[in-house]
C-alpha cells in the first residue's frame, strides 16, 4: 500500500487521527461525524490501513520519560569500511529502537530507549566500548508540537 492507494477520505482520516481520538464511548463515531463519513466506513478504512502496514500503532502514545524510562537520539561517525560491522554491534543492543544511516560525517543515527534514565549513560558507555567510537548523545531538550500532515 502506498500513497497512491489512499483516497481523499483515507488521507483526511489519517491527518485527523494524528491529532488524537476523543475520549468518549464511541470515539470512531465522533470522528466519522466530523469527517462526514459513516462509522462503519471509518472502521473499515482503519482496518485496511492497518493491514496494509500504513499504521504501525493505533492507540495510546506513551510518554517514555514519564513512564520512568530514558530516551535519546545519538550518533556515530563510522568509518565507511567498518559500517556493516558497527551496524551489527550497535543493533545488538536491545536499547536501540531505530537506527538510520544518514549522509554526513556523523553517518549512523539511532534512538535509545531504556527502562530507566540512568541506563542511557550505561548503554552509551557500552556502545562506545563495543565500537571503539565516541557516541554523540543528543537528548531532546524541548519538543515543538507538529500536526503531522501527509504530503499529497
Amino acid at each position: 500500500m502506498t500513497l497512491d492507494d489512499l483516497d481523499g477520505n483515507d488521507r483526511r482520516l489519517l491527518n485527523r487521527l494524528q491529532d488524537g481520538l476523543p475520549l468518549v464511548a464511541r470515539p470512531y463515531a465522533a470522528v466519522a461525524e466530523e469527517l462526514g463519513i459513516a462509522e462503519g466506513d471509518l472502521l473499515y478504512r482503519l482496518e485496511r490501513l492497518r493491514e496494509g502496514g500504513v499504521l504501525s500503532r493505533f492507540g495510546p502514545m506513551y510518554h517514555a520519560e514519564r513512564l520512568g524510562g530514558g530516551l535519546t537520539l545519538a550518533a556515530l561517525a563510522v568509518p565507511e569500511a567498518d559500517f556493516d560491522r558497527v551496524t551489527e554491534v550497535v543493533n545488538a543492543f536491545p536499547e536501540v529502537a531505530h537506527n538510520y544511516r544518514r549522509e554526513h560525517e556523523l553517518n549512523m543515527w539511532f534512538v535509545l530507549a531504556t527502562e530507566t534514565p540512568e541506563r542511557i549513560a550505561e548503554t552509551i558507555a557500552g556502545i562506545e566500548a563495543a565500537t571503539g567510537l565516541p557516541v554523540y548523545n543528543m537528548p531532546k531538550e524541548e519538543e515543538f508540537h507538529v500536526r503531522l500532515h501527509l504530503p499529497v
Partner: protein, 177 residues
C-alpha cells in the same frame, strides 16, 4: 495467580483493581480495538466497566503517561522514502520561537531542540521533513527558508539512506526497495 508472600510488597497479591488496571495497560499497548465501543471491549477483557476504563485512560493522560490517543504512520510504507533530518545552528535565545514556527510548517513532521556537540556538531534545532522524493523535500525546505526568512542560518540536510530496525533479535532492513 500466585499466592501472596506476606512480607514482600513485590510479590504480594495485588488488589483486584490494580491487577485489572495492569491488564488494561498491557491491552492498550497492543492498540485500541477497532470496534464501535473500544472502551467497552477493553472493559470486557479486564473485568472493569466502560466508565472505569475511560476514567483510567483519562487519568493516565492527565498524568502525562499517555501523550494522546492517536496513531503512528509508517512513512516509508507510504512511499515517502525521502526522510530528511534538517538541522539548524540557531542562537540560543531564538531556538524556542523558531522551533514553534517550524513546527507549524505542514512539511515538518517532528521538531526538537537538542544540545550542540562542539566542535563537531554546532546544530541545536532538528526537524524532519518527509517526502516521496529528495527533490520534493528540498523544494519544501527552500520554501520554508524563504517563508521564515532563514537564509542567514547555517543548516544541513541529512537524508537517510537506510533504516535498520531491530526486530526480535533480527534486523529488518526497511525501505531499501
Amino acid at each position: 495467580m500466585n499466592s501472596a508472600t506476606p512480607f514482600s510488597p513485590e510479590t504480594s497479591r495485588p488488589s483486584r483493581e490494580s491487577e485489572a488496571h495492569r491488564r488494561l495497560r498491557a491491552l492498550l499497548e497492543q492498540g485500541l480495538p477497532l470496534t464501535p465501543r473500544p472502551w467497552q471491549a477493553l472493559a470486557e477483557q479486564t473485568g472493569l466497566c466502560e466508565q472505569e476504563v475511560m476514567a483510567s485512560v483519562r487519568r493516565w493522560q492527565a498524568e502525562g503517561m499517555i501523550k494522546r490517543l492517536g496513531l503512528v504512520v509508517r512513512h516509508r510504507r507510504l512511499g515517502l522514502q525521502a526522510n530528511a533530518m534538517v538541522v539548524w545552528d540557531v542562537p540560543d535565545d531564538e531556538v524556542t520561537p523558531l522551533g514553534r514556527r517550524l513546527a507549524r510548517e505542514t512539511a515538518v513532521t517532528l521538531c526538537y531542540r537538542r544540545p550542540r556537540r562542539l566542535p563537531d556538531w554546532p546544530y541545536n534545532l532538528f526537524c524532519m521533513i518527509h517526502g516521496a522524493r529528495r527533490e520534493r523535500v528540498l523544494l519544501e525546505l527552500a520554501a520554508i527558508i524563504e517563508r521564515l526568512d532563514l537564509a542567514a542560518l547555517e543548516h544541513r540536510v541529512l537524508f537517510s539512506t537506510h533504516a535498520y530496525r531491530q526486530c526480535g533479535g533480527r534486523y529488518v532492513r526497511e525501505g531499501a526497495a
